[in-house]
Point group: C2
Amino acid sequence: MATISDIARQANVSRTLVSRVLNNKPGVSPENRKKILEIIEENSYVPNGLAKSLVLQRTNTIGVVMDDLCNDFFFRLINGLQDAAEAQDYNILFCSGRKDMATRLKYVDYLTGGCVDGIIAYGSRFDDEELFRYVAEKSANSVLIESDLSGCDIDKILLDNFHGAYTATEHLIRQGRKNIIHVTCDMNYDVGLERLNGFVQAMHDYRMPLGPDSILYADHFENTAYQQMQKRLSQSTHPDACFAGADKPAYGVLRAAMEAGLSVPGDLAVIGFDDDVSDSKDILFPPLSTMRQPLYEMGQAGVALLIDKISHPGRDPITQTFEAELVLRETCR
Amino acid sequence: MATISDIARQANVSRTLVSRVLNNKPGVSPENRKKILEIIEENSYVPNGLAKSLVLQRTNTIGVVMDDLCNDFFFRLINGLQDAAEAQDYNILFCSGRKDMATRLKYVDYLTGGCVDGIIAYGSRFDDEELFRYVAEKSANSVLIESDLSGCDIDKILLDNFHGAYTATEHLIRQGRKNIIHVTCDMNYDVGLERLNGFVQAMHDYRMPLGPDSILYADHFENTAYQQMQKRLSQSTHPDACFAGADKPAYGVLRAAMEAGLSVPGDLAVIGFDDDVSDSKDILFPPLSTMRQPLYEMGQAGVALLIDKISHPGRDPITQTFEAELVLRETCR
DNA sequence: TTGTACGCGTTATCAT
DNA sequence: ATGATAACGCGTACAA
């Protein structure tokens, strides 16, 4: 690996001149500039970013920690993060902290070790809390997305899951539905509880019946919700509307309903959550009404917040909350 | 940000001692070690990895470049990469080089700038070739997965797509199928062409009829194959077997066939490629027979190759080829 | 326009 | 056991 000194030696100039050429700065004679550029090309020299960052105290790089990368659901989020970062000439790095907490914390240590200017952590799993607290403690420049960690001076991008769930439920109620149920998403995530709470609150506010059969506990797989709904439909009284805590369970509900011969949205209206475009279900099922989570915008906002924090060290933490938007499609008119 | 000098000053010792404590090395009195550890804790000090890597000329980090991260299909690959890397105490970083070539090359420049010990590049899109050549040229330590770039001294992990396609087609032929068709995956990728070639070669070797209707051009979406197959089934003669270039088009074929009232595998046998477990189609469709691509193992092997190259600089490039495995499920017995 | 010298934060060598 | 010093590769005042 050639260094700047090697280049300087070959060009018979000082490292200063080479540095100036590298950074397109003035103060180099045209002849020298030309000669230096040639030698750089010859050696296919790449400046050492470590040394540069060390002296500049700045890497122009953002690190992202999330528990799982390869999930279609994150498509919009990752695109939002990347677009915003690259628009500001930041590199963006992704770490996947699956597995045990020790590995996750090791990645945070790695990232806080100087290779990035700031960290974005995504997720809302209950057992991720330790990770997020660690991030908040170790790194001055960090923002949490989707995780409402309390008691930490840290920037946050949140979605109002409670309000979104409330809105969806309210819509079903106002539509005149009488027997509304909720199928939860994975309750290991904060969002699961928040959405459940929103549902319950809306039902309560409108004096709607809420019994043990009103809530079906599922997760973010289609199958679980499908099976739960099958069981539910074997009972004598059928629900006429369902708010699901995520789109995947909503599809499970749809399948069970259609197999049971129910018409959608006639016999059963369905609203999901997230607007998870990962699956091309449009042929199998009627297009799903859902609470659209603006993940792209949330990713963008996260990066904006982080870059703002980087350029204004010590400023007070900011929390930015996004609202989910009711998108009405075929399963609920 | 506290530095090692800050810690040393507060502890009234030299940086040397602090460094020894940080790296669990002997030569520090118990009292000093205890005091230093306390002060490190107090300041929640994290050593600067940049400076450390600079002097050690080693980062213990691997960088991965791929065009798209958030795709369920990469689940096994990413897990293989991570498991292998972390087992050897390497950090692993992911960069997604979507968008324009300039951005992609920028990430390669970034990675070759010293922040990683080696680079793994994944993909086989035709227009990625420039990227891969750039990687091969700029970084001594790099391995390409799934891309058979010619004329480059670089380690490669390949899948024998031709042979896999040949095997699948051969199986259908030996099963006594008479009218076999191939539905391609995205032909913008090398793998698309290789699998098509394998199909054609097998058909040719066994003297099977091969006409313009024998090949349906699709991509890696379910819909395209679905529509192509619908069209194909509107013709008078129906195929009795189909080898699809990927699992998603295979599902499209299945759907069209089932909607047309064909029995599977009775009227139509189907074999896919990849064993893409991303979708939970098992309820909708009979479990798909497929050529399983050992992505997890390929990821592991890629990391192993890279680490080997790092520890044996200058060794000759190695190419490792994996075979796809025929997994027989319901759609073809 | 050009070059010298110092500092970024760390580890390693060699003293003491 | 402890500490001073050089080195990693780079940017940048400052001097020439």
